[in-house]
Amino acid sequence: EQLFVGDQVLRVTARNEEQIALLRVLGEQEELQVDFWRHPNIPGHPVDLRVPFPNLQGVKKLLDFRNFSYSIMIEDVQELLDEEKESMRRSRRV
């Protein structure tokens, strides 16, 4: 089973087409393993990307360097998955 301990989902807002293009380039860098949950499309629309824990610092630095505005939507993906699994287990027991 693949675990996602420490992975975060960032909600990024691109201000213009240039930032949209930068986010697309970010997604193409295979070594960063960024997983877009909501793809970059129109400036002003939220873009959600899951970033594996080992690449978190690098991606955040890049976003800061390029003046992106972003927030952390999910602090730790695995924590949510554990809660989800527990909730399914409880429901099955009932």
Binding site: E1, Q2, F4, V9, R11, E30, D35, F36, W37, R38, H39, N41, I42, P46, D48, R50, M73, I74, V77, L80, L81, E83, E84, S87, M88, S91, R92, V94
Partner: protein, 309 residues
Amino acid sequence: KRSSRTFDFASYHTIDEIYDWMDVLVEDHPKLVSKIQIGQSYENRPLYVLKFSTGGSNRPAVWLDTGIHSREWITQATGVWTANKIAQEYGQDPSVTAILDSMDIFLEIVTNPDGFAFTHSSNRLWRKTRSINAGSRCIGVDPNRNWDAGFGGAGSSSNPCSETYHGPHAHSEKEVRAIMDFIRAHGKVKSVISIHSYSQMLLFPYGYRRAPAPDHQEMNELAKKAVSDLAAVFGTKYTYGSIANTIYMAGGTTIDWAYDNGVKYSFTLELRDSGRYGFLLPSSQIVPTATETWPALLDIMVHVLEHPY
């Protein structure tokens, strides 16, 4: 005797639990609901469709599918709730009764069963099918980029490692081909509604080009009414419009194929986004999500009934 009434709609379920429940629904409504198999997945799982029909032959039909992207669990859960709602409301709700007295409804709840099973066993965040890509270490094709409508165009990727990989050729995925074959063979499908999550949108063709579809105005008006009725339930605000102009250019999508193949009322829904959980929407939100989606679905189906073509 098992009963569909004891099923917990406010919980997420595995594919086995959903498939078992489908049998129970059929047992509880034998004159209305039947289960048909339209094919097998890449890993040989059955592709089941619930058929809601009050009889007649060669009736016009509405096609609904949920969960072609396996990690969007709220979508399959909404499919289960919706199936139950259709069965319960026939003979009670005048709109549902009128629809089913003239048309059939087909609902494929687990549209990507291999991917869905994989999300339960190995990788909760799996989106694609599970087919092997020759010459690549990466698995799977995005089944919503695999249709023969602008196949391989903008918004899809030729890289098998990408989440939007379009596949080696159009309809390469058995899960996609089965739906295509079914809709073509049926011949009287008048509406295709393909349900996804999450960005709170009601979209219609085109995705593969920016030019408006010939029926743009009618679909826009219908979408406006549907999202308004959806918002009236809990205040959830949806945007609407063509895929290309509302979200992004995307080649090879389900509803573009349907529209280009004569299914005029082709829509795709992106269910609610809480802004906090993404694909990991807690199960407590299943019933509210499905409940608010219902009037939008009903609006589209009633419109199809009232505007035969």
